[in-house]
Amino acid sequence: MDIIIFYGNWRCISNIKKMSKKNKIYFILIIFISIVVFFSLLIGLNKENKYYPNAKNRLLDKEIIAKDLLLNKKVNFENIIKSNNYTIINIWSSWCVPCRSEHKFLMSLSDNTKINIIGLNYKDNENNAQNFLNELGNPFDFVLVDEDGLISIDLGAYGVPETFIINNQEKLIVKRYIGPIDKQILDEIKKIVK
């Protein structure tokens, strides 16, 4: 089959001299267009086609009110993030496996008194969440409950685990990490927060 096509192509090309001017232009145009289409598709094939919504430099919503798991009362984001320069919001859940692996990095950040760390407990059972913190330690200054995921949407979050760094004065999202924190991200966070 290939040979026939190749032969056909070869004959076409060998006949190019005999073609009329108009046909020649068409012939070249078709070849040119197919090459362009081929390469654009090839490039498109290798490109990652997943879209990540951009959260950088977006302002926080004015009023986000959530229940605090430990204090057992409603608190306003605005009041929490007043102190210090930066706030780290970490979305986590006891049923989320990668959250366990990132927890030790959050623990190491909790020593830093210059930042607030807020844990947003995503669609979780409160008892399980408590047990999770008892077992692995609590790095959070506040643990807020996001029962139906609406607060996460308010933040423009993607899923769990996810981490936001917020500039408290401007109420601006400085940086967002989708997925668990690792050593490299921890260093980056430390650099930003400095």
Binding site: P53, D148, G149, L150, I153, L155, G159
Partner: protein, 124 residues
């Protein structure tokens, strides 16, 4: 009198059910036009991921609060970008996107008509 009362009751019952149904229709309509961020390529309506479920709850809540469809889209667009809606808004940088199919359709039609016309001419 009793019969009339029962009739009235039934009437109100149906209106209540109808209005509830209308609301869910709107939720379906909106969620069909929203792209799921986690399960890309599928709509919020089709998928059952945590994110999609949350968005459905959000739409319901916002509708109950009396927000319009456009306001809900705007809210989500502000959070996730223009990408989240399947149907992009008609504005400066999407004119071509909207008009291109029409242009192709008209040109294709013209081409076909021209070819057919010339053939007819030759046959005659």
């Amino acid at each position: 009198m009793k019969k009339i009362l029962i009739l009235l009751l039934l009437f109100f019952c149906t209106t209540i059910f109808l209005s509830a149904e209308e609301n869910s229709d709107v939720i379906n309509k909106i969620s069909k036009n929203l792209r799921c961020v986690v399960c890309q390529g599928q709509s919020i309506y089709d998928y059952q991921s945590d994110f999609a479920l949350s968005v459905k709850i959000l739409i319901k809540k916002k509708l109950e609060e009396g927000h319009s469809e456009k306001k809900i889209y705007d809210y989500l667009k502000a959070k996730y970008g223009e990408w989240i809606v399947y149907e992009p808004e008609l504005k400066k940088n999407t004119y071509l996107l909207w008009i291109l199919p029409l242009i192709l359709f008209v040109f294709g039609g013209l081409l076909i008509i021209k070819k057919a016309y010339i053939k007819d001419g030759k046959n005659k």
